[in-house]
Symmetry: C2
Subunit: 122 residues, 2 copies
DNA sequence: CTTACAGTTAAACAATCTTGCAATTGTTTA
DNA sequence: TAAACAATTGCAAGATTGTTTAACTGTAAG
């Protein structure tokens, strides 16, 4: 990552552009796209509410729908978006499809975001 | 944090609705809105690139613009969005306006998101 | 096979967001 | 005060997103 504090001139950019930076650039480029896609998926109150339910354990679609008191297709759509970004994973069991957060990393991201918000608002 | 593996019944909902949950509901309601707003602000590749620059230290608008090789008004707009959600803060110093990440919490959120993406893509 | 239940998908419409360019504000220096 | 530089704002065009209703698929039970 760039070191902004050093090498700050009055005229030029403070962000040096050496080999290391250039090498990292491609990585960051792809990572930014991916990270932004995840953040975008989390960036909706309704989807986030849904994720908070999954934070407590896996759920099937109709359970989520009744917990959030919303029509089932709406929930299914949101889950589709979340699954498209691999924020949640699903598993069919008989008639039911169970959804869960994709991994611990996502779980932590959600928890951190909401906790930050809660601290702010407290 | 929730334990996903345990507490799953065959018939009933896995998400219990006891007093504790109900009490937390109002808090979560507001927190979701706020957290989603933050995530939404982070959910754009261009804004995230900008934030990665700030991750390394404060910068003025024209520095950011030249580092990202983009027109200054575009950067200013993005900063406005980010500041609107209190993801960044600004400080005027003479002709220049310096921007920085709002706090450590935001910094960690950004770093975690991008690191997750990098690991995924590695 | 048919009924009922669980979930997904499609299409249309509204709403929101992003961007680019031009004009404007604010700040310093001559 | 005028000129130059730094940054912000306004506005229109275009793209993305979210929501809703209805139709469709898949699965188990009668």
């Amino acid at each position: 990552m760039a070191n902004l504090d050093s090498g700050m001139n009055d005229d030029g950019p403070s962000c040096s552009e050496n080999d290391h930076e250039v090498r990292d650039f491609a990585v960051n480029e792809a990572s930014c796209e991916r990270a932004a896609a995840i953040f975008r998926a989390l960036g909706d109150p309704q989807r986030l509410r849904l994720l908070l339910i999954l934070e407590a354990g896996q759920c099937c679609v109709s359970e989520i729908a009744s917990a959030l008191n919303e029509p089932l297709p709406a929930i299914s759509q949101r889950l589709r978006v979340l699954k498209g970004e691999r924020v949640v994973k699903s598993r069919r069991e008989g008639k039911h499809v169970f959804y869960a957060l994709a991994d611990e990393h996502i779980s932590r991201l959600v928890a951190n975001g909401v906790m930050h918000a809660m601290e702010e608002l407290s």
